[in-house]
């Protein structure tokens, strides 16, 4: 199933460039700023300006030898290979990578979703011959509800528990800003309090033109003031000492995994919010069909079911099983 252009490690041999490599490489194309895609220590990095800004914020100015910012839709030619980044709708700056070479079109989706999101440029469908798709939610049990319904449940819970804080676990890059933006869209104008780990990235989003409203650090705020308020923290802080500063918090978590109640229970989450930045099962299937690709490589997640589905549809499909993407790094989704 080898493609002359791209191998199973997402290595573009013709121009010796890797896409989202786990190991430090001479040349890398980075689809988006999440830690399982963007690592520090590469030589030359090609990415969207937003992704580069995110990498510098998270890892420091010197996290790569050099940066080549490329806007969405602006092709870059390297030898006889043409690279174009297209919006993936996953988080700020997230891109799909289109690679064109002697008439063959390959798309690496990175992580993506197709639902509207004010914090990320909307997904663009890119027709291709070979599609390398993510499969984070690649099982038919994942059918994400409308995010507005989930926010409505949060708002109802806020109204029913005016004496308790609502502590929402949300990944620092992308999910936190999306939840804030959805709350604002739902009419919640009150200040939202943030764990220290979210401050820099929220500030960066605002700098890059995404308004998030009245945000305040949660640290140093007197306990009673946080009653009835929304507090957002990384998922790891939910059960941490950190949360003791909050008045009897309702533990919530914003993640696609929250559709599985048993998962919510395992984490002690009382209010699971099914808000995902990934395509669900139906979106994955639609996207595969819509691109018209005849060969599908599946990576990042539950590859088996999606590969099986593709083969049922008469497509050539293979799992990639890239090393380094641990099953269980679920907080980031």
């Amino acid at each position: 199933m080898a493609s002359p252009l791209l191998d199973r490690h997402l290595h573009l041999k013709a121009i010796d460039t890797f896409i989202d490599p786990v190991q430090p490489r001479e040349r890398a194309i980075i689809t988006h700023g999440h830690a399982d895609h963007a690592r520090s220590g590469h030589g030359a990095v090609l990415a969207t300006p937003d992704t580069i800004a995110i990498m510098k914020t998270r890892y420091g100015e010197a996290c790569a030898g050099s940066f080549q910012p490329v806007e969405y839709g602006e092709p870059v030619s390297i030898d006889d290979v043409r690279i174009t980044l297209h919006p993936a709708g996953h988080v700020l700056g997230s891109a799909q990578v289109l690679i064109e070479h002697r008439g063959q079109r390959v798309v690496v989706t990175g992580d993506y979703k197709r639902l509207p999101d004010r914090t990320a440029a909307p997904f663009e469908l890119v027709p291709c011959d070979l599609l390398v798709t993510e499969a984070t939610f690649g099982l038919p049990v994942f059918q994400h509800p409308a995010p507005s319904d989930e926010i409505a449940r949060l708002v109802r819970s806020l109204e029913a528990n005016p004496d308790r804080a609502h502590l929402i676990g949300a990944y620092a890059l992308g999910k936190a800003q999306r939840v804030i933006s959805l709350l604002r869209e739902g009419g919640h104008d009150a200040p939202i309090y943030l764990h220290g780990a979210l401050l820099r990235l929220c500030a960066l989003y605002e700098e890059r033109g995404i308004p998030l409203g009245d945000l305040r650090p949660a640290t140093g705020v007197a306990k009673p003031e946080l009653a009835g308020r929304v507090v957002i923290a990384p998922p790891s802080a939910l059960k941490d000492r950190w949360s003791r500063r909050l008045p009897d918090p309702v533990l919530a978590m914003a993640s696609g995994w929250m559709s599985v109640k048993q998962r919510a229970r395992q984490r002690g989450v009382e209010l699971p919010l099914i808000i995902s930045d990934h395509a669900d099962w139906n979106e994955l299937r639609e996207t595969i069909a819509d691109t018209g690709a005849e060969t599908i490589w599946v990576t990042h997640g539950r590859e088996d079911a999606l590969v099986y589905h593709c083969r049922q549809q008469g497509l050539v499909a293979e799992p990639l099983n890239i090393q380094g993407y641990e099953e269980g790094e679920e907080d980031e989704r």
Partner: protein, 525 residues
């Protein structure tokens, strides 16, 4: 139905016991009859729909979803009901579901042949959370961490009535409990129950903490008996009708006509159901064979005769004697045995001991020589109190047997542990080969579970669906109560109540036990 679905979700996800009780109390106070009564029946496990087995539900879903995709999903989610609720591909959501009462009525009146169509249409009409509730309801297996006791505590909370007063009347009530709510809301009298003829909630014991409890307790205040290796039962005989109830109040009389028909005299008795001729109890496995059948077979009645070893009396004739002290109840019980000659009941022996070390020696010898589970220690002045009151009855279990065994296979757990490899099959050496001797899924902490899960994922040799075969290199110290010969297992050994005592990260597999070493344990019991 919406309110009930919301309640179920809240109960499943709220870790705080008090908040669960508050949510239940609020639901019972706000919901009209008979919906709340049916909800109570569902929550306490008093109601189930015989028509809808999990296998049937699965069949219905497999009519709509690819079986392979379903299998992968079930393996991932780990809970059949939840898998079905999540995977159902059709979404209507516009038409309201029937009320809980109507839904139950529908389940009970729909013919077997029509049932799949009904369930399909309900699943399609339901919203996502309701779909989960419909599946839970239809199978009757809620598993949301709510015990009958918790539901009753909520009733007490809601009404200000005493929990014990509710327990008292509970087993005489009928679904949907209109008379109960009438009383709870002070709109009528406490329901009148024929006390002698009902199951009465049992009194349970607490484990003894040798280090902390013994020095504080005066042996002269206590009486001791063997802890028998059977199942706890309650015999209820009133005006010629005899019932035999399990611990949870299920009538198991039809499976034990030999006991029921032989009972003489009216009383409510508490004892241990055992199997064996001439009051000599055989291994638990013999009892298990009889428990596996709803109705006794003639062969079983002949080869595996059952009897009850009685240790307490709740009603003497129709007189409620539960408030009396244990010594008085025991005297009444002995007098009852003198008045009524029994052929399938005998008295549990009271052990003689002057101090705790003597009893400890009894306990050790009883375990080693007769396979007793340990001893029961009861405060002589204790009344018979339903539930698990503190400081009255203790169980002092035998020290467990220990064996070092090698982890062979791991399987993903269910329910709360669905994403973790938490069910472990382990084995011992038979020559150069390792043969499985048992399976355990508890005994470790949550932190250890995570470590084990990681170990399994990184040491997998092969995967068979949800089961992984692992490298034969990790040793568990397995604790178990007894070992028996078993034709069903390849090793020829079956363990009773195995659990993982310690994970021996340090121990090489070569030093684990051999099958020959296991024979010692079989001899002992």
């Amino acid at each position: 139905m919406k309110a009930f679905a919301q309640l179920l979700e809240l109960l499943a996800l709220t870790p705080s016991r008090n908040r669960k009780i508050a949510a239940l109390a609020e639901y019972f106070a706000k919901t009209p009859d008979p919906d709340r009564g049916y909800a109570l029946a569902v929550l306490t496990g008093a109601l189930s729909f015989r028509n809808v087995k999990p296998a049937k539900l699965k069949e219905i879903v497999l009519g709509e979803v690819d079986p392979h995709l379903f299998a992968l999903s079930y393996d991932y989610v780990g809970d059949l009901g939840e898998t079905i609720a999540l995977i159902w591909p059709h979404h209507g959501g516009t038409e309201e579901l029937p009320s809980l009462t109507d839904l139950i009525e529908l389940f009970n009146t729909t013919s077997k042949g029509e049932l799949p169509r009904l369930i399909s249409s309900l699943l399609t009409r339901a919203e996502i959370n309701e779909r989960w509730a419909v599946v839970k309801l239809a199978t009757g297996a809620l598993r949301i961490g709510v015990s009958a006791r918790l539901a009753k505590t909520a009733l007490a909370e809601m009404s200000g009535k005493d929990l014990q007063a509710i327990e008292e009347v509970w087993h005489g009530l009928r679904i949907p409990y209109a008379e109960l709510f009438t009383w709870l809301e002070d709109r009528g009298e406490r329901p009148d129950i024929d006390h002698a003829a009902r199951f009465h909630p049992m009194m349970l014991s607490n484990p003894i903490d040798e280090a902390r409890d013994l020095e504080k307790l005066d042996p002269a205040d206590f009486s001791a008996e063997w802890k028998w290796d059977g199942i706890r039962v309650q015999l209820v005989a009133a005006r010629g009708n005899v019932s035999l109830f399990s611990r949870t109040g299920d009538d198991i009389g039809p499976a034990f006509p030999d006991v029921v028909e032989a009972m003489m005299g009216d009383a409510v008795l508490d004892g241990e159901l055992l199997v064996g001729a001439d009051f000599a109890p055989g291994p638990f496995n013999d009892l298990q064979q009889r428990l596996n059948r709803k109705v006794a077979s003639p062969k079983h009645l002949k080869d595996l005769p059952a009897f009850v070893r009685v240790y307490d009396m709740l009603f003497d004739g129709s007189e409620d004697i539960r408030a009396l002290e244990w010594t008085e109840r025991r005297a009444r019980l002995e007098a009852f045995f003198t008045r009524h000659r029994q052929t399938r009941l005998d008295l549990s022996e009271v052990l003689d001991f002057g101090d705790w070390p003597t009893l400890a020696e009894h306990r050790r010898r009883g375990a080693d020589e007769h396979g007793h589970e340990g001893v029961m220690v009861k405060l002589r002045t204790s009344p018979y109190v339903p539930g698990r009151p503190k400081g009255l009855w203790y169980k002092w279990k035998r020290d467990p047997n220990l064996v070092d065994a090698i982890l062979m296979y791991a399987q993903r757990g269910h329910g709360k542990r669905s994403s973790f490899y938490s069910d472990f099959t382990f084995g011992v050496w038979k020559g150069n080969e390792i043969v499985p001797i048992g399976k355990a899924y508890f005994g470790f902490t949550d932190a250890e579970l995570k470590q084990l899960d990681k170990w399994v994922r990184t040491h997998t040799l092969q995967a068979f669906g949800p089961v992984r075969e692992v490298e034969k290199s990790l040793v568990f110290e397995v604790a178990f109560d007894s070992a028996q010969e078993s034709a069903r297992h390849k090793s020829g050994v079956a363990l009773r109540f195995p659990r993982i005592n310690r994970i021996r990260w340090d121990k090489p597999a070569g030093e684990a036990a051999t099958l020959e070493e296991m024979q010692v344990f079989i001899g002992a019991t």
